[in-house]
């Protein structure tokens, strides 16, 4: 758990981060979101003490990080940056092994861990371990960056616009994989972005920053239903509801009961594995007022526009 209390950073008379307080629970995916220059990177880098705060504290599991040796602190936090920062003079194997080597793991264990990590991010160790960073595509390099950050199994992962420099298609793939990795590993993640779609897709909670201030810190659903200010409302815009629909799976919605005579093949239908947004698109696309929800071909219920919107209404639908 990371507790940030009254964290402030001034450069001369300029205040980059102004008294920000927020708590990131164990296993929670927090996104720091905000316009350029709003202080996202500065907050992130104060967590691993790459930037020393002017005032305020960061507690890691109750321990003030200011009392820890910066190097030891950083070895417990994976760190991923936009341009990967892979070491061009080292193979992918050596890159991924960086922190385990710093921690003095034995060679066998490092070798196994490197393979495991490359597998985890979807890169074949036999093909990739001996390559050099310049031989990788942007997306592959970013995966290696994630594998390297995870190598020593740190409980915390800090990521600064990790997918900012890759093409939109690759970015979407990486985002989905990040979501899968988080669901699987339950790391505590602090993730910086200025991409609203990315934030809404990934975050358990979004911290919206503006000129160094924390505007609101809440789940995307809550930001939509109860924006704390006009700025929050305006920042997310009209599309937030639709973006939130992309977070939820249709199978999590309470369906309306089914007329037992219908079959999946006969009427407009969707699989229950799609997102609410996809279901809505399907509804509109079929020019229908309701859809039959099917699970592997077997009808399970009916959804209509009302069900879909109500599912979000109280902001309680689980991700």
């Amino acid at each position: 758990m990371i507790e940030i209390a009254d964290l402030t950073k001034r450069y001369g008379s300029f205040t980059a981060v102004d008294s920000v307080s927020l708590t990131v629970e164990q296993g929670q995916f927090t996104v720091l979101l905000g316009p350029s220059g709003s202080g996202k990177t500065t907050v992130l880098r104060m967590i691993n003490r790459m930037v020393e705060p002017t005032s305020g504290r960061v507690l890691l599991n109750g321990v003030d990080t200011a009392t820890m040796r910066p190097e030891s602190l950083r070895r417990t936090m994976g760190y991923v940056i936009q341009n990967t920062g892979l070491f061009p003079n080292m193979t992918i194997r050596r890159n991924v092994a960086t922190v385990p080597r710093l921690l003095g793991w034995d060679r066998r264990r490092i070798e196994e861990r490197v393979s495991e990590m490359l597998d985890l991010v979807g890169l074949d160790p036999d093909t990739y371990a001996s390559k050099y960073p310049h031989q990788l595509s942007g997306g592959e390099a970013q995966r290696v960056g994630v594998a390297r950050a995870l190598a020593a199994d740190p409980p915390v992962l800090l990521m600064d616009e990790p997918f900012g420099a890759v093409d939109p298609l690759t970015r979407e793939r990486l985002q989905l994989e990040m979501k899968r990795l988080h669901a699987k590993l339950r790391k505590t993640i602090v993730f910086v972005t200025h991409d609203i779609d990315e934030a809404v897709l990934l975050a358990d909670r979004i911290a919206l920053l503006r000129e160094g201030h924390l505007e609101q810190y809440a789940a995307p659903e809550k930001l939509w239903i109860e924006p704390a200010s006009e700025f929050v409302k305006g920042f997310f815009g009209e599309n937030l509801g639709l973006r939130i629909m992309a977070r939820h799976c249709l199978s999590s919605v309470p369906f309306k009961p089914l007329d037992p005579s219908v079959s999946c093949a006969a009427a407009p239908h969707v699989e229950d594995s799609v997102t609410l947004k996809e279901a809505l698109a399907e509804l509109v696309g079929a020019k229908a007022t309701k859809l039959i929800v099917c699970h592997e071909g077997a009808p399970r219920g009916v959804v209509d526009f009302e069900t879909l919107v109500k599912a979000l209404g109280d902001g309680s639908a689980p991700a």
């Binding site: 691993n48 790459m50 910066p70 190097e71 030891s72 602190l73 950083r74 070895r75 760190y79 940056i81 936009q82 341009n83 990967t84 920062g85 892979l86 070491f87 061009p88 003079n89 960086t98 922190v99 710093l102 050099y132 310049h134 031989q135 390297r148 950050a149 800090l158």
Partner: protein, 251 residues
């Protein structure tokens, strides 16, 4: 995944190195053979081999002058470069650079003339002149090399918990190495030829037959000193130039 072009490039590189090394060694150690070559090149000259010292000894002196001056310049240049880069040295950086610059503007011959009253004749004045001349390029290459390292790599190294020392040794220095080695190579190549100046101050070296040939109108002596000096310089240049591996390793 090394393409055939890369392999051909690497092969050609080492072939070149071997040939230049072999030619230099042949001229140095096979006096009879080299004499034949010189006779062929300068047919109307009776004496073609410089009589005072055999070429192998002259070459030894040349290599000694080159290596001594280059080694000292390397140590001093790297040290000054690192000081200029260090936090404590930042304020003195311009000063260090301009002193290095100044040393380079004074002609080597003038430096030798100035230090001879202090050191006497022999190897010292040449070595001092070459050292002063070489410090700046080494220093510049150290600073440029370290500063060329991508800030992202440094940021990542710090963020993953490397100490400044670990970061310097395992990231900054290896990444700066090609640039630093480029400076070392240039220094060696320049010093190999500049060490011929040693003849002027009785430090020996390949400059002696050249000087004698100049005085006695004997082109064969000049060639005897110049040819091995040239091939040695080329040998060092090739040896320290990275092989052409374009499709493998443009970092």
């Amino acid at each position: 995944m090394i393409g055939w072009r890369t392999r051909a490039g690497t092969l050609g590189h080492w072939a070149g190195v071997t040939v230049l090394g072999a030619v230099t060694a042949w001229m140095t150690f096979d006096a009879t053979g080299f004499e034949l070559l010189l006779r062929f090149l300068v047919p109307d000259q009776r004496a073609v081999l410089y009589p005072t010292k055999p070429l192998s000894v002259l070459m030894g002196e040349q290599v000694y002058l080159t290596m001594a001056s280059s080694a000292i310049a390397l140590v001093v240049g790297v040290t000054l470069g690192l000081i200029a880069l260090s936090r404590a040295g930042k304020p003195f950086r311009d000063l260090i650079m301009s002193v290095g610059n100044l040393a380079q503007t004074v002609p080597s011959v003038a430096i030798m003339a100035l230090v001879i009253p202090l050191t006497g004749y022999g190897a010292e004045p040449v070595v001092i002149a070459l050292v002063l001349y070489s410090i700046l390029p080494i220093m510049l290459n150290v600073v440029a090399g370290i500063e060329s390292v991508s800030p992202d790599a440094i940021d990542a190294a710090t963020g993953m918990g490397m100490t400044p020392r670990q970061r310097f040794l395992s990231v900054q220095l290896p990444l700066a190495m090609p640039v630093i080695m480029g400076g070392v190579k240039n220094m060696l190549v320049i010093n190999v030829s500049a060490a011929t100046l040693g003849a002027v101050v009785a430090a020996g070296g390949l400059g002696m037959p050249i000087l004698a040939g100049f005085k006695e109108y004997n082109d064969a002596y000049i060639l005897e000193g110049a040819l091995p000096s040239i091939t040695l310089a080329l040998f060092i240049d090739r040896l320290l130039s990275p092989p052409d591996t374009r499709d493998e390793a443009v970092a």
